[in-house]
Symmetry: C2
Subunit: 470 residues, 2 copies
């Protein structure tokens, strides 16, 4: 497709163009996007259609995200029934409702019934209750029942993530029977990587990777080639923990079980990859005080989502201002204090942020656990004091040389050790405390941390200076 | 195993204990770890052996990471030849060399030859040249040649990540022939999810997921069931881009090709999951000025790796100090300026960090591309000015009411708009500029950003105050 667009216009209508994904350039090239947008703006429906109709659903989603709202509507209208509904699950959440509106509930409901349950649930779960019900009521009874059962699980749980159509065989079957069953069954998932072995009570008792089934002769019993050491995922497990299991044990799919260890579905690695990206982005944004925003959000929505953190910061900064104002007289007498105090606060804030980031990340990857928490805390405090002493010497020397005041030099050196040590301790204790309290350790750790390190820096430096120098 | 340890000591020696992974508790419980460590410290080899020998390699790695160095050595000695070498690839990089030393090069070389090429390369690539050569020279010629060819690709490229043993069939075979080939071939990877179809020149022309092979009758030609729209990964593609392709197109494995589109290997999703976690952690750490550190690093190594960023921060903070010192006379006359200036700087720093984080993340997930960069920049600036105006009003009112000085109130309000607007613009332009210059947009963005927002905040606020009020 891209090649076609790079050539001449009439080529766009050729149905036999090479596939863009297998093309020289992977995905959408900026040039391709620009040309499609030009055609959309020019109202050239046949060209747009020819260019977009054979794109991978993920590329269609990317294209939609890059368009302006009016262009999106036009593209959806041009594609009509050829728009692959799978593109919806690849879209930013904020855009999904918009595009579904363009498509219309009738076609969406029809398409949902054809999707694997996990994909259908993914599209439905964030919708408003009324819109969700409207779509569900248009779906065939059996599909609706399956989706409704998945929606009963809590948000972000394995139950929401799982696919209900799975391949299940009894242990006494042989490989040949299993293969014949696969060839005949018609409600199987689109792709799958292992088959699950269950007993008569539907307890998950083993798994066999497809590659092993393939490589085994037909008369061999499944029981003799199955892995019994499998990672069973409880349906109420949080998706972050599910992702951790997949990463740790290098899984491609895993059985999901109910509270009686009965098989209810499977989670596949493609959904887990999504979860990992989501959670990593979430930690990053939360540490910086940004909500769940996407580039396609409106300016007003974005400004509003960033406001609360800045507002909280206004109060924490006010605490620092109150501390400084207590030493107003000292600053009037010795204005150098006002010049140096932001340096102390900056270093403390940064040292604390380093520790906090390492802590939050180690908690996310489960490297920091109950067993080693004591050791890690003392390690962090030690690191903080080592750098505290080094920067005490550096700052002390610098201030002594530049201002020729070796008493002030001593004061800033001592403040440096106190504040960097304190910053290290806060950097690890704040996220740990938030976690113990049941909160996300990433969220608002920075607000508390910077408020504390600022206040302690100003207090230590201005306090010591007032006490010793004035 | 965990259950055994929770009971009585002799139970530890039973070979028929339930597997800990399929056990009630997934992975290692803190209690299990504590008991194993107690037995290691007590020199109770049989109990330790019984507890650890059947653990999943990933759990063995986790256990090793949680131990003190002397305990690690003891555990490796106790396990002896029963230590599954696969545990090595799950270990923190810093610990790998240590544990390989305990195991000895002879056994490591032997075990490496049995691993899939991608896993062997993963273990070898970070070693020192001499240690790497020593191990390679002990390996069988064929394995060594394969690994050496992979090591010729650049670090962090698809060529390093790929597995060389792949399943390849010609398009004219039928399903039956493919299955028979699978049953007979003996150099296949441990698990695989699709088979690759190549022409006589070994060009990758299609793929068939195993589940489709299984579900198709024996006489059907492979050609008629293969997907021709496949994502081909060039061997020199950066691993971050590989991960992006997997995530975007929901892949479980993909063909890796040389510059002539000839199949040279495949990348599987388990390695990609690792890459995604690695890259997400890297962005997070780099934004906070932390290097590639692990919790198992020594205190000295950690302190040293965090020093450079703090040192850079010393200089950027000094710039702010220089700006303030230029207004020393103003501060002496009006000490309120010293009290309020950190508030302006804090808000500007935070607003800038918000924008920068969103920008760095959007670049990592490829949501921010050439096509929409102009639109995103104007969006960010608009968001910054909207919040700038809101906080100008809030700060202006607060200062006016608290200090009863409405001229100062006006000055801080105007400074707020200037600095928040500037912070938003810097937050997006700095990572973009770093990226254009070929640097990682995450690394050191914060140093530049906070240096700039601090300097501009102090300059705007103190400058305006000096000009208008004094």
């Amino acid at each position: 497709m891209e090649k076609a667009l790079n050539d001449t216009a009439p080529d766009l209508n050729r149905a036999s163009d090479p596939d863009p994904i297998a093309d020289d350039e992977i995905g959408l090239s900026p040039d391709f996007v620009r040309k499609v947008v030009d055609r959309i703006d020019a109202g050239d429906a046949p060209s747009v259609r020819a260019a977009a109709v054979d794109l991978h659903p993920s590329d269609v989603a990317e294209l939609i995200e890059l368009l302006r709202p009016d262009e999106r509507r036009t593209l959806v209208a041009i594609l009509g029934p050829d728009l692959d509904i799978a593109a919806l699950s690849e879209l930013d959440e904020g855009l999904r409702d918009e595009v579904m509106d363009y498509i219309g509930p009738g076609r969406v409901a029809e398409a949902l019934a054809d999707l694997d349950t996990d994909d259908a649930v993914y599209l439905l779960e964030d919708m408003e209750e009324s819109a969700q019900q409207a779509l569900l009521s248009r779906m065939p009874d059996e599909d609706r029942a399956q989706i409704e059962r998945s929606l009963e699980y809590e948000e972000d749980s394995a139950g929401r993530l799982m696919q209900r159509d799975i391949v299940v065989v009894p242990p006494h079957w042989n490989v040949g029977q299993a293969i014949d069953h696969l060839r005949e069954a018609d409600d199987l998932p689109e792709t799958f990587f292992e088959i699950f072995v269950v007993d008569e009570m539907y307890h998950a008792i083993g798994t066999v990777p497809l590659s092993r089934v393939m490589r085994t002769k037909r008369p061999v019993p499944i029981q003799s080639i199955m892995d019994v050491e499998q990672t069973l995922i409880p349906a109420d497990m949080d998706q972050e923990e599910v992702a951790h299991q997949f990463e740790k044990y290098n899984l491609v799919s895993a059985a999901v079980v109910d509270e009686d260890d009965r098989l209810v579905g499977m989670v596949t690695v493609d959904d887990v990859v999504e979860v990992i990206q989501e959670e990593a982005g979430e930690d990053l944004r939360r540490l910086a005080g940004v909500g769940d925003e996407a580039l396609t959000d409106t300016v007003i929505k974005t400004a509003r989502s960033r406001f609360p953190w800045l507002f909280a910061n206004l109060f924490t900064a006010a605490i620092a201002a109150v501390v400084i104002s207590a030493f107003g007289v000292s600053i009037e007498k010795m204005v150098t204090l006002a010049i140096l105090m932001p340096v102390v606060a900056a270093l403390a804030g940064n040292a604390g942020t380093q520790t906090m980031t390492v802590t939050v990340r180690a908690m996310a990857t489960r490297d920091l656990v109950d067993f080693n928490v004591g050791r890690v805390i003392s390690r962090e405090v030690l690191v903080a004091f080592i750098n505290g002493f080094i920067f005490a010497v550096l700052m002390g020397l610098g201030v002594g040389v530049i201002f020729g005041d070796w008493e002030l030099s001593g004061v800033i050196a001592v403040s440096m050790v106190i504040t960097l040590g304190f910053a290290g301790l806060s950097g690890i204790l704040i996220p740990l405390a938030l976690d113990r309290a049941g909160a996300d350790p990433a969220i608002s750790s920075s607000v508390f941390l910077i408020a504390l390190t600022d206040a302690v820096s100003f207090l230590a430096f201005l306090g010591l200076a007032t006490w010793l120098l004035l």
